[in-house]
Assembly symmetry: C3
Amino acid sequence: MASLTHLLSSRDRIFYDLFESLADTAVRATAHLDEMLAQFPEGRREHFEKITDCEREGDETLHAIRARLNQTFVTPIDREDILALGSALDDIIDFAEEAADYLGLYGIEAPMEQSQRLAGILLACARQVALAVPAIRTLSDPSETIHEIHRLENDGDRVSRDAIAALFHDGIDPMVVIRWKDIYMRLEQGIDACEHVADVIDEIIIKGK
Amino acid sequence: MASLTHLLSSRDRIFYDLFESLADTAVRATAHLDEMLAQFPEGRREHFEKITDCEREGDETLHAIRARLNQTFVTPIDREDILALGSALDDIIDFAEEAADYLGLYGIEAPMEQSQRLAGILLACARQVALAVPAIRTLSDPSETIHEIHRLENDGDRVSRDAIAALFHDGIDPMVVIRWKDIYMRLEQGIDACEHVADVIDEIIIKGK
Amino acid sequence: MASLTHLLSSRDRIFYDLFESLADTAVRATAHLDEMLAQFPEGRREHFEKITDCEREGDETLHAIRARLNQTFVTPIDREDILALGSALDDIIDFAEEAADYLGLYGIEAPMEQSQRLAGILLACARQVALAVPAIRTLSDPSETIHEIHRLENDGDRVSRDAIAALFHDGIDPMVVIRWKDIYMRLEQGIDACEHVADVIDEIIIKGK
């Protein structure tokens, strides 16, 4: 019985390590995006390369989670929750990469101030995610960080709606509107992915108790 | 054994009450949106305030469902289905609120006739949802209302596609096209959320039999 | 015991037949879309009618899967996975139909070359899906076709991003940009649906082993 417990807890540790690694990659990706927008267009190419590196790392870690899951018949956490948490963490990175890529694809020359604020909120969310993920190991109460993520998401929603309203009130070129609506949307989707991570963590900890 | 049955059915009742309350809020939110578009721009602010009240109520009810779920180890309905039904009902309200907010954010002066028709379909869908939700209590056959929701969703899809085609055929300002495509999309997402509620109810009743 | 095994495997066969039929409809729908774009606008109406026929067939097959599921208490595959696979297969057809319909709704006169390439990738993906689905019957290793679908999805992502960048670099009419972004998006969503099918098949085969 002791050896079974040992076996399970060693299995646990591998999933926990992989989730924490993915959360760490999400923090790095969103930090590069935040800096990229703050200094834009200076260092654009270097920041983008670092973000695509993160995106590749994220894919590899998610692949490792799936591969591990395929070899494991008794998982510490429900299979669905392992897949949902892995995918939601990877989504944060994917949306950061998309936002960064579209800045280039759309030939953006100067960033809107609201995009810089949204990137800051996305980074703050990713940092809270990185604080919440280790709570799964100990089933400790994650409600404070989860509450903070919801607060940040509300902020992001307001900034994003104001940003879109500003695009229309300023009566600028429709091509500018199309570009920025798309970039704002991706930043917001990144923030939503952080909120989704929070919900999955909440659910995992409740079930695990 | 009798007391366990009693315990379960008292637990059931709380979830059922919360789902019905959420469906009722969805009907009120979509009714305000329907009136808001019918009388637009008259009473715009008052209607929007009532819709944001509904949005807040919806969030609180969804929170109460989640909190209740966290304290309940044996649920009458699968955990996943409770979360899915709560989220889908709340989505109806969120999309109604977004549609209403964007009418203001985009500085809309006069509503397109098709947006009024879509708001009417959304309200009709929400009313069918409010009829279908109580069927969970008695596991009675919800197929008539579910069928009606699918029929309404098909109507909505056709109205929405025609509305978008009209935007392009009328050769109007691209800024008008961008605004209205966004508002139509949110109305359609509200209708899709109703259809999703119908599918979850169907699944719950099948499993419960 | 032998009769139970027999019973299960006869039940299996019905679901497998329906999934394979749905995959076959997806191949036909995407093949018509590919031809429609290659010959556009010649034969537009005929191709579109065939695609809407496929869309109706897809809905009927999905309905048959759901109806069958409602009568079956012991399913060979998890209920969630049956519903997820059916929906994802139907999504391929729905996005193909939407892309085809929007070509008409938007009054497109000549297709962008990138839309033809994306339609070709979507068709190639659907063909791989049709190869992967029968692997569920025998639980044979689907990794080669799944790998190919992921490779195609990556190609599609690149073509789609380049296509969007081209719309902006060519400095054309914003109405053209709005139209084509929408059509590219639907082609991409069809490809993403194929990738989602691949992930569900992978999960089903792992659990079934």
